[in-house]
């Protein structure tokens, strides 16, 4: 039962991922990405990690893809991509293929060598808000706080970049 469910979800996730790459219009790519994120959230739920699932929806579906859509709408989403298939795009696709193959190889090695502990939701409450908070605010406090600083820096950077330069005579 659970395996069937997983296979169905995985199929949808792969379809979404293919949609991101193959869609002609950027908006369709963004929507396929949304499907992919939603399926990932469902997979988290099957692993008893409801908190991660909901955060996945709030952060990725609720904020990041919305941002993508904003950008696409404002920069002209009707075009097939930005610019044609220039040399830059070819280089980018080669880099992407190499990175993808490396990632697959790494993951495959980890699975074969048994480096990856299987997450199968055996421990109830493992993915609950309480359990995650406990970990986050004790064992991983320093990385957690550093992430906050990182986000602050990113925010200040965005403000600096977006701010109009001051008028010289005012």
């Amino acid at each position: 039962m659970q395996l069937l469910f997983f296979l169905a979800l995985a199929a949808v996730a792969i379809a979404g991922a293919l949609g991101v790459v193959l869609s002609k219009k950027p908006v369709y790519s963004a929507l396929s990405l949304l499907v992919n994120f939603a399926v990932a959230a469902l997979l988290f739920i099957t692993l008893q990690a409801q908190f991660v699932a909901v955060v996945q929806i709030i952060v990725y579906a609720g904020a990041i893809v919305v941002l993508f859509l904003f950008v696409i709408m404002l920069i002209g989403g009707d075009l097939t991509g930005v610019g044609g298939r220039t040399r830059m795009r070819n280089v980018a696709s080669i880099v992407a293929v190499v990175a993808g193959v490396l990632l697959l190889a790494g993951l495959g090695y980890a699975v074969v060598a048994g480096q990856m502990a299987s997450a199968n939701g055996d421990v109830p409450g493992q993915g609950s808000v309480q359990a995650i908070a406990q970990m986050l605010f004790t064992d991983y406090l320093l990385p957690f706080e550093l992430t906050a600083v990182l986000l602050l820096v990113a925010m200040i950077g965005a403000v600096v970049l977006a701010r109009k330069p001051a008028e010289p005579n005012t």
């Binding site: 409801q50 929806i57 709030i58 579906a61 609720g62 919305v66 859509l69 709408m73 404002l74």
Partner: protein, 339 residues
């Protein structure tokens, strides 16, 4: 027996809930028109049926039988998908809100909520954040500058006010640990735990902030920027007509019912009231009455306050409301830590 409790009961409950929400939507429009009419010193709908009570049905029939028009310049799949994406988040949000205590029906113990998940608050926020997609996609797929501008405005507004709303809900979650020692994100547990009177008083101080956020989240007046007809025709809905327009309309009103339900659950004790323990069905009545009262606030504001300007709306959120909610969160944290 197992599959009945696992699949059939939730399915029936969901179906009943959806039907109730759709009916609630229909009569909320009637309620709004009647209340606004009283504010304007006129009668409101009074032709269809006694007291005009059949007016919503007539409107629905009209919308359904209207000719389907799909403009030639739209992106068809997304144009058709957008109203659905607007409506579904509105409908599913009620799954975690308890509308009554457990009742016994046909020898089965039935809980009057669909899911008691330990992430209820976050679920509400997640559903609210997904609700922007209908708006954005409608604006983009319409291929019309008014629709695009309207959808950009609306979604920016919804995303901005979600911040203050989330902060306020976080403060309320903090207070759940006061009574029992362990906090919970479940709305069902929130209703069930009794709270001292001073805590209620503190919570009610936060109610206006949450209410303002909810006005903006549901795109209600004075923040009804999707339909600033003097600037944007009808905003993101400009290219929609007939039943597709009705779906957007439905989403807005069901969002209102959901927002009222959340506020009733958080601030006014949900279904709790006198004699609920003896007669559980009374709880449902209390819940509905409280929701109707909170909905009246929405209509009252619509009748009394003119529409804000868009930059005022954004400045109000980023320069005032968000800070206020952060202060509220900080004070709540201090209270929770030292009481």
């Amino acid at each position: 027996m197992d599959w009945i409790t696992l699949l059939v009961v939730p399915a029936i409950k969901s179906l009943v809930l959806i039907i109730l929400l759709l009916l609630g939507f229909a009569y909320l429009t009637y309620y709004e028109r009647k209340v606004l009419a009283r504010f304007h010193a006129r009668y409101g709908p009074n032709r269809a049926g006694p007291l005009g009570l059949l007016q919503p049905i007539a409107d629905a029939l009209k919308a359904i039988f209207k000719e389907e028009i799909i403009p030639g310049h739209v992106d068809k799949p997304i144009y058709l998908l957008a109203p659905v994406l607007a409506l579904i988040p509105a409908l599913v949000a009620y799954a975690v809100i308890p509308i009554g205590p457990s009742i016994t029906l046909f020898g089965q113990q039935i809980n009057l909520f669909i899911a008691d998940v330990n992430i209820g608050f976050l679920y509400i926020l997640a559903v609210a954040s997904v609700g922007t997609y209908g708006v954005i996609l409608a604006g983009w797929s319409s291929n019309n500058k008014y629709a695009t501008l309207g959808s950009l405005r609306t979604s920016a507004q919804m995303i901005s006010y979600e911040l203050a709303l989330g902060t306020m809900l976080a403060a309320i979650v903090l207070t759940t640990s006061l009574a029992t020692g362990t906090g919970s994100l479940s709305l069902v547990e929130l209703v069930q735990t009794p709270r001292p009177l001073w805590l209620w008083a503190w919570l009610w101080l936060g109610f206006p902030i949450v209410f303002i956020c909810m006005l903006a989240e549901t795109n209600r007046s004075p923040f009804d920027f999707p339909e600033t007809e003097n600037e944007l025709v009808a905003g993101f809905q400009t290219e929609y007509g007939g039943i597709k327009f009705a779906l957007f309309f439905m989403a807005e009103y069901i969002h209102m019912i959901v927002a009222s339900g959340v506020m009733v659950t958080v601030f006014f004790g949900g279904y709790r009231g006198p004699f609920v323990d003896e007669l559980p069905l009374l709880g449902v009545l209390y819940f509905v009455l409280k929701v109707i009262l909170v909905l009246f606030l929405f209509l009252w504001v619509r009748a009394s306050v003119p529409r804000a300007r868009y930059d005022q709306l954004m400045a109000f959120n980023w320069k005032f409301l968000l800070e206020l909610s952060l202060v509220y969160l900080a004070i709540t944290a201090v209270i929770v830590a030292f009481v």
